[in-house]
């Protein structure tokens, strides 16, 4: 078995690097599931969980019934086990992302070394504290012996030494970070799964928005709010561009209805920081200079900035804003989308249009991008299928017989 020398890192939960026993398990091993479901239960039982819907969503995802369903969906046509050591370089833009990455590695049957960003907000500490508590208990000794959550300031030497022992690496980060990490030497059999910068968009049917009953409209607004504002539009799957379908008159009326509902919802969420408004205004000025034909749509306040375009420039993904900044255009036959889509495009959220039909369009037109078509409200629902990868299958190996 591999032995890893100790390195100057801070262990947050699990064992030290020197004590790590990377003995793989089959996918959805009872020990792994027992740990994750105990983690779920402890997190959901915390009185302060209500302040952190992202932590609650992670805990809810790890509940026994969901893991049992995922296990069934994996099937058992082939004998599988983890690849060995999975190294996770988790991002700083999504606070609980490291926990999902860890859970995917564990469910696939791997030993895991998870680098948790040092600059994460409070909810990451909660998630780590509960993991540490469980992994200190004898009941989860097997899991504790093969997993470590750790933190260290950016240090290429440490990352290189961890990369050298990895059988699979889950790399989350911007394009430059990924490129940098990819240059580090890894073992010949090591599999890299890279989650680089992605761009996401939303498709709204104007007739559907106009016909929605007030309850459905409210649910649409809440879903869109969750997709965009929970992570300040920083997540790869948060939409930046809205494609409308319908006649010009329908779209204009639907825009009024949709954005009024959004404004009403945003008013209930309190004031957003002034720096966000400044960021959006600066971005609007930049957009006015750089994006041909951009027309700002007047809005009641600074919570949402909207820019109308008759024709999408090919590089629209490079003009993304944050904190509630959107481009809008009409694209009835998706000709504009088909013209500009590239490998960077990830999630298409939709309302009033069938997700399966849209997914089939991606395939039948051989589009270079879009890995995910989901209803508005589900943009941030990360799962074992992500960025076009089946993570459990990619992080495990098949033991074949004939």
């Amino acid at each position: 078995m591999k032995h890893i020398a100790d390195l100057p890192v801070r262990v947050i939960a699990g064992c030290s690097l020197a004590d790590l026993r990377p003995k793989a398990l089959p996918p959805y091993a009872p020990e792994a599931v027992a740990f994750l479901t105990a983690w779920s239960k402890q997190l959901l039982a915390r009185p302060d969980i209500r302040a952190y819907p992202d932590v609650a969503s992670f805990a809810y995802w790890c509940r026994p019934a969901n893991l049992a369903r995922l296990h069934r969906e994996l099937g058992c046509q082939q004998l599988r086990m983890g690849r060995g050591v999975a190294l996770h370089i988790a991002p700083a833009n999504v606070p609980v992302n490291f926990a999902y990455s860890f859970a995917f590695g564990l469910l696939a049957g791997n030993a895991n070394i998870v680098r948790v960003s040092e600059s994460l907000p409070a909810q990451a500490d909660i998630v780590c504290a509960e993991a540490n508590d469980l992994l200190s208990q004898a009941d989860h000794g097997r899991i504790a012996s093969m997993n470590t959550l750790l933190s260290y300031p950016r240090n290429d030497d440490i990352t290189q030494r961890l990369s050298a022992v990895a059988d699979v690496r889950l790399l989350w980060g911007g394009d430059q970070t990924i490129e940098h990490l990819r240059r580090m030497p890894v073992s010949p059999r090591c599999v890299d799964i890279a989650f680089a910068d992605r761009y996401s968009l939303c498709l709204l049917s104007a007739p559907a928005v106009l016909m929605a009953e007030s309850k459905a409209l409210q649910a649409l607004a809440v879903g869109f709010y969750n997709d965009v504002f929970l992570l300040d539009q920083n997540a790869c799957s948060s939409p930046h561009l809205i494609l409308w379908q319908g006649t010009v008159q329908e779209v204009e009326a639907a825009q009024v209805r949709f954005w009024n509902a959004m404004q009403a919802l945003l008013h209930t969420k309190g004031q957003s920081p002034g720096i966000h408004a400044v960021d959006k205004y600066t971005h609007l000025c930049r957009t006015a200079i750089q994006v041909k034909g951009a027309k700002a749509t007047p809005t009641a306040d600074n919570r949402v900035f909207r820019v109308a375009l008759d024709e999408l420039p090919e590089n629209i993904a490079e003009h993304r804003g944050r904190f509630g900044f959107f481009f809008e255009t009409i694209d009835n036959d998706l000709a504009q989308l088909r013209r500009i889509v590239n490998t960077r495009y990830q999630t298409l959220t939709c309302f009033g249009v069938d997700a399966h039909v849209l997914a089939e369009i991606v395939v039948s037109h051989g589009l270079a991008g879009i890995d995910r078509v989901v209803p508005v409200g589900k943009a941030l629902d990360i799962g074992v299928i992500w960025d076009g990868y089946d993570l459990i299958r990619n992080m495990s190996r098949i033991v074949a017989t004939q």
Partner: protein
């Protein structure tokens, strides 16, 4: 414990409310039963009764009373 007692206990332990307040309790009537509280409640119910609820049932689970009908679909009967 009977199924009804377990069902009541899931609500009282998750939301820290008195049993007497449950009969007419609806989603978002109290601060504790918000979208996060709903996730906690669904996880507790699934574990308590050893069931996996469909997403539609989780969405439609809008009150203490409606929940009883929904759980009946999973053969969790309460008299």
């Amino acid at each position: 414990m009977s199924n009804l007692e377990k069902y009541v206990a899931a609500f009282t332990s998750t939301f820290l409310v008195e049993e007497s307040a449950l009969a007419n309790l609806k989603y978002q009537d109290i601060a504790a039963w918000d979208s996060v509280g709903h996730m906690s409640l669904m996880a507790v119910l699934e574990e308590t009764f050893g069931i996996e609820m469909d997403i539609d049932d989780i969405i439609e689970f809008s009150s203490f009373e409606v929940g009883r009908t929904i759980l009946a679909k999973y053969n969790v009967t309460m008299k």
